[in-house]
């Protein structure tokens, strides 16, 4: 992972399309730019042009694209990155972007057809060196095509680290294996040794971290003998339902929801990638957060999406309330009828009162615990809606006015949810305040009476 170059290069690849490479690449760029470092994002996915579509509003008047970056003109590919002056677009503070060509004639890979990955690799290396000298760029992030095409193989060979994005299903797994095989065959039978690191994106909540980790460790160790890398999955990112709402509308989810599991998992991913080799790429916030072993341990094991967690909490509360209701209906007549059932006389009844307490006290303890759980989940729901509302407000503030108008309805709906979810925690806080006030009053009156007593005794002593 360490390189002698003065800049860092990350390739984001996958075995198949639609696994979230573009989202990850854009958000990683955002996190690195907050270090603060200069980042350049290059869209090398000529087929889908996901990243280009993400910054569509910014690229309409740009002539310079990834083809120029690779030094490809209509009929040549040169090693000195072509005669073009590199003009990258500034899409955010510290992030520059080179789009994929929008209009291509023929199949998507036609511009690179006929060139071996070695030639593209040399061209890519030359371009990055050139851009680093020109603009002092600290980090290049190459968003590649889903599958083992020549550009992906070249990018994986050139870059310090190649992030292989995958999902926890057999189809994507098959694609990932094909990609790894493609790297092996494409890079001259293992002559090149790319550093592959794996990320499982959109991990479904039905899995537990321990199980998934066990499975992936087993297969990674079995298949990746030819490559360097940590040999383990760097991050399992759960499905982020509400963040996905902003897909296509805003490129940087880590900006909209910095405390979400998605953002924190990406921070952890960066920390694991660069903590030892290039810590200067990590912001103080990331370093501070990820140096706490307990925080990291808890975060890395989180596989449940926030929405799933809250839905479960609400369902659990609803079940709990209904169970309590039905149990009270069931228990009260039985309790009332106990005398007639057992035929107990008065002496027996008084004896049985002790048994009543024995039965009742654990019941009271259990119900107290259940109520604690109930209020804990109520707070969970409240914080979830608070985060969602914040996210929606930021999104509405960041997107175009036409889109914001449509989003506003969602915002009103979320406000209603937020205030509804605030009711129970509000009640708890109110009762706690009442309790504190009552305690303060009683303490005050007790101290007051004590002082009065003391002064009375003192005056009596003086009189005496």
């Amino acid at each position: 992972m360490t390189s002698k170059r003065p800049y860092t290069c990350i390739a984001v690849v996958s075995g198949k399309g639609g696994v979230g490479k573009t989202t990850l690449a854009a958000n990683l760029a955002k996190l690195i730019s907050s270090a603060p470092k200069k980042v350049m994002l290059v869209d090398l996915d000529f087929a889908n042009r996901g990243c280009t579509a993400l910054f569509a509003s910014d690229i309409l008047n740009v002539d310079y694209n990834a083809m120029h970056f690779l030094g490809v003109t209509r009929d040549r590919l040169s090693e000195d990155a072509g005669p073009f002056e590199i003009v990258a677009l500034r899409v955010s503070e510290g992030i520059r972007f080179i789009p994929a060509p929008i209009f291509l004639e023929g199949p998507h890979d036609s511009p690179l057809r006929g060139y071996s990955s070695e030639v593209i690799e040399a061209s890519l290396r030359a371009s990055m060196d050139k851009f680093h000298h020109q603009d002092d760029t600290d980090c290049f992030i190459l968003d590649c095509h889903g599958g083992a095409d020549a550009a992906s193989i070249a990018a994986a060979t050139v870059c310090d680290v190649t992030l292989v994005v995958t999902e926890a299903d057999s189809i994507t797994f098959g694609g990932t294996l094909a990609l790894v095989d493609g790297f092996y065959q494409g890079s001259g039978s293992g002559a090149v040794n790319p550093c592959l690191e794996f990320v499982v994106n959109r991990a479904p909540s039905k899995f537990r971290w321990q199980d998934l980790n066990e499975i992936y460790n087993k297969y990674l160790n079995r298949f990746l003998g030819h490559y360097t890398g940590s040999g383990a999955v760097l991050a399992y990112i759960p499905v982020a339902e509400y963040l996905a709402e902003s897909f296509g509308e805003h490129p940087f989810q880590v900006d909209l929801a910095p405390s979400s599991v998605f953002a924190r998992k990406l921070e952890l991913l960066l920390f694991r990638l660069f903590n030892l080799s290039k810590p200067e790429l990590l912001s103080t916030r990331i370093r501070k957060r990820c140096q706490q072993a307990r925080y990291v341990r808890r975060l890395e094991r989180t596989l449940e999406s926030e929405t799933h967690k809250v839905t479960n909490a609400m369902l659990g509360n609803w079940l709990l309330l209904s169970a309590l209701f039905w149990m009270s209906l069931l228990v009260s007549p039985l309790w009332a009828a106990k005398g007639t059932l057992t035929g107990a006389d008065e002496a027996q009844a008084s004896e049985l009162q002790m048994a009543d307490y024995l039965v009742l006290s654990p019941l009271i303890a259990v119900s107290f615990l259940l109520f604690l759980f109930f209020f804990y989940t109520a707070f969970q729901v409240f914080f979830y809606y608070r985060n969602r509302l914040k996210f929606q407000k930021r999104l509405v503030g960041a997107i175009s006015p036409v889109r914001a108008k449509l989003r506003r309805i969602e915002l009103y709906k979320l406000r209603i949810y937020y205030w509804t979810s605030a009711f129970l925690p509000g009640l708890v806080v109110f009762y706690l305040l009442l309790l504190v006030m009552a305690a303060a009053l009683s303490l005050g009156s007790w101290v007051g009476s004590l002082l009065g007593l003391l002064s009375l005794e003192a005056s009596q002593a003086i009189q005496g």
Binding site: S170, A178, K206, I215, V359
Partner: protein, 143 residues
């Protein structure tokens, strides 16, 4: 009318077979869990099974109690009742059922993701086999 009856019966039978399938799947889950490689899974399935057994046993005891009570009263209504009061049975039954359900719930929380993971593992293995087979075929074609 007959057709409607038949339809209803078929519907009920369908439901019953669905329930049976669900139950069978649950039992399969337990049995797989009992033979799992991870000790925590084995333990939780064992506890799960024990609690289900306890709950069933309590229901049987409750039935026995009621039948003894009714029989005893019928045989000799003037004999003082020597059986423990109903509330004792009730609290044992309710307590064991609640505990059983709670621990069974915990077991399910632990076992269901494990079952998903095992399914994923076997899918990965199948993909891997296919990959090897394709590679072998390609080698043979080359020859």
């Amino acid at each position: 009318m007959e057709a409607q009856d038949k339809k209803q019966t078929t519907g009920l039978l369908d439901q019953a077979s669905q329930a049976q399938k669900g139950l069978r799947r649950l039992i399969d889950l337990f049995l797989k869990g009992l033979g799992d490689s991870e000790p925590a899974i084995r333990m939780s399935s064992l506890i799960f099974a024990a609690c289900v057994a306890l709950s069933l046993l309590s229901i049987v005891f409750l039935g026995l109690h009621i039948s003894f009570y009714v029989l005893g009263r019928k045989l000799d209504p003037f004999t003082p009742l020597t059986l423990p009061p109903f509330r004792v049975y009730f609290s044992v039954v309710a307590g064991s059922m609640i505990m059983g359900l709670l621990i069974a719930g915990y077991g399910l929380i632990r076992l269901v993701p494990r079952a998903s993971a095992l399914a994923l593992d076997s899918e990965f293995e199948a993909v891997n086999r296919l990959r090897h087979k394709t590679a072998e075929d390609a080698t043979q074609d080359d020859k």
